[in-house]
Amino acid sequence: MDKTWIIAKRELASFFDSLIAYVMIILFLGMSGFFTWLFGNNIFLINQASLQVFFGIGFWTLFFFIPAITMRMLAEETRSGTIELLSTKAITDWQIVGGKFLACLLLVMIALFCTLPYYITVSQLGSVDHGGIIGGYLGLILLSSGYISIGLFASSVTNNQIVAFLMALFIGIFFQILFDVMGSSFRGGLGTAMNYLSMRAHFESLSRGVIDSRDIVYFLSITLVGLLFSQSMLSRRNWQG
């Protein structure tokens, strides 16, 4: 855990040093703010003191932003060879992957924390459903951890950041929307399985304030599988050809 935190600390510092963190936070706030308050189906149109609209937007913005922050994580280390230096130090591949995961998740959480004024504003406008707010934020965090682990996996497969980015989006789009679509067009067991794999249903029930352990288990499993795959891809230098 200790070593994991050292890696996470370095990655976070490098996010803020390289401006990636600021760009990401500003874009995230800009996009979600614009659609939540100013454009389309915004809060005023719905006329309810809830952050449903914001959660719906966050669901999509995070889907696009997370691959952008995860893409360099392992790809850049492999490309520049620093991974060799890192993994010959007293640290395991698990700790490396875990540290990078933690750094990305913390960055997303910082960005989400910056939306606190949204909550404050809405709570001034009427009585808010706190369950829905907590569930929504929890949902966004869990969703992010799923996409971060997918992004890390994509980044561990290649040493090209662009490929890692596109690959993360490609895998992500299945969970984001395609499983949903396919679930409704297949019948029987396959359809149910696809429906279960879709992030949307799980996220929506969370953001309505229904905190169900099945949804949490779903997100955590995706995260775990993603991290497991990233770790084994990182250790592939040990595979015997």
Binding site: I6, A13, T82, E84, L85, T88, K89, A90
Partner: protein, 308 residues
């Protein structure tokens, strides 16, 4: 800390990059891996440092195997990989602190260790810069500093002087020599003079196998089968000189030296010396012997012979 490498093998697909290598390095020894590009030097190092699992064989550091005690071994090895990969966006001091933390140096000792490394590696002038802003020589020093930050017993340096200017090379060599007094050092190079200047012992590796093992003196001796002399004689024309030299009982071959009529290289028969005979020949003919030098087999020749 002694290192025992036992039957180490690494296969990349069908090709054996390292083929059943075994050797032993004692504490306080500086050993140089010498070999042409692609001989398996770096791969061997990657296995010793626990970066890559071998396809077969084992490495033992003071009895600990890389298969079972990787975490303890990693703590006691300092490694400078080929091409010196570093985080270019990090300031030097931050990077050294990061390395120290990962290697488990206790928090209260870290500032002290960093200060020591900055001094030993001569980073003081540049210490507030980011690594990406440094010249190649300084980056190499940062690479050395991060390898030594946790005061390891074993240092493994993969081509530590590539890309440095002659002054820097000499400094790094001095540093390695100094370190080699207390630590076990393995370094690799394809520059012969470098290995000769810094190492107590040389392992010549070729096509994944050890081609030769010994000090530079013993390697030379092994290769130096026949005596070779250059002589310069005044007093007669080239042709008759050559004929006279060939007439000596101990001489096997005489070659002229390009462009000079009175210079020859004289190769003796195995285990015989022609020095005295050449001198006597000149005396009896009243020729003047201007020069007679023994040619020492250079390590280059040993190397070429073993790896071609």
């Amino acid at each position: 800390m002694s290192i025992v490498v036992d039957g180490l093998t690494k296969k990349y697909g069908e090709q054996k990059a390292v083929n059943n290598i075994s050797f032993k390095v004692e504490t306080g020894e500086v050993v140089g891996f010498l070999g042409p590009n692609g001989a398996g030097k770096s791969t061997t190092m990657k296995m010793i440092t626990c970066y890559m699992a071998p396809s077969g064989g084992d490495v033992l550091l003071e009895g600990m195997s890389i298969h079972t005690h990787a975490d303890q071994i990693k703590k006691r090895i300092g490694y400078l990989p080929e091409n010196n990969p570093l985080y270019l966006d990090m300031p030097i001091i931050d990077y050294l602190r990061f390395s120290a933390e990962i290697q488990g140096v206790p928090g209260n000792k870290i500032p002290e260790r960093i200060a020591e490394m900055v001094e030993t590696c001569g980073l003081d002038v540049e210490k507030h810069k980011k690594i990406g802003e440094l010249s190649k020589g300084y980056r190499q020093r940062v690479g050395l500093a991060q390898a030594m930050i946790h005061n390891p017993d074993v240092l493994i340096l993969d081509e530590p002087t590539t890309g440095l200017d002659p002054n820097q090379i000499i400094e790094i060599r001095k540093l390695i020599k100094k370190l080699g007094k207390q630590k076990t050092v393995i370094l690799s190079s394809h520059i012969l003079s470098e290995v000769e200047a810094t190492c107590d012992r040389i392992l010549i590796i070729n096509r994944g196998r050890i081609a030769a093992d010994g000090t530079s003196a013993t390697l030379r001796q092994q290769a130096q089968g026949q005596e070779l002399l250059t002589v310069q004689i005044e007093g007669a024309d080239g042709e008759s000189l050559k004929k006279a030299l060939l007439g000596l009982a101990t001489v096997e071959k005489v070659d002229g030296v390009d462009g000079k009529a009175d210079y020859f290289t004289v190769q003796s028969k195995p285990d015989q010396s022609s020095r005295k005979a050449v001198f006597d020949l000149c005396v009896s003919n009243k020729w003047c012997l201007l020069e007679m030098t023994g040619i020492e087999t250079r390590l280059e020749d040993v190397f070429r012979e073993l790896t071609n």
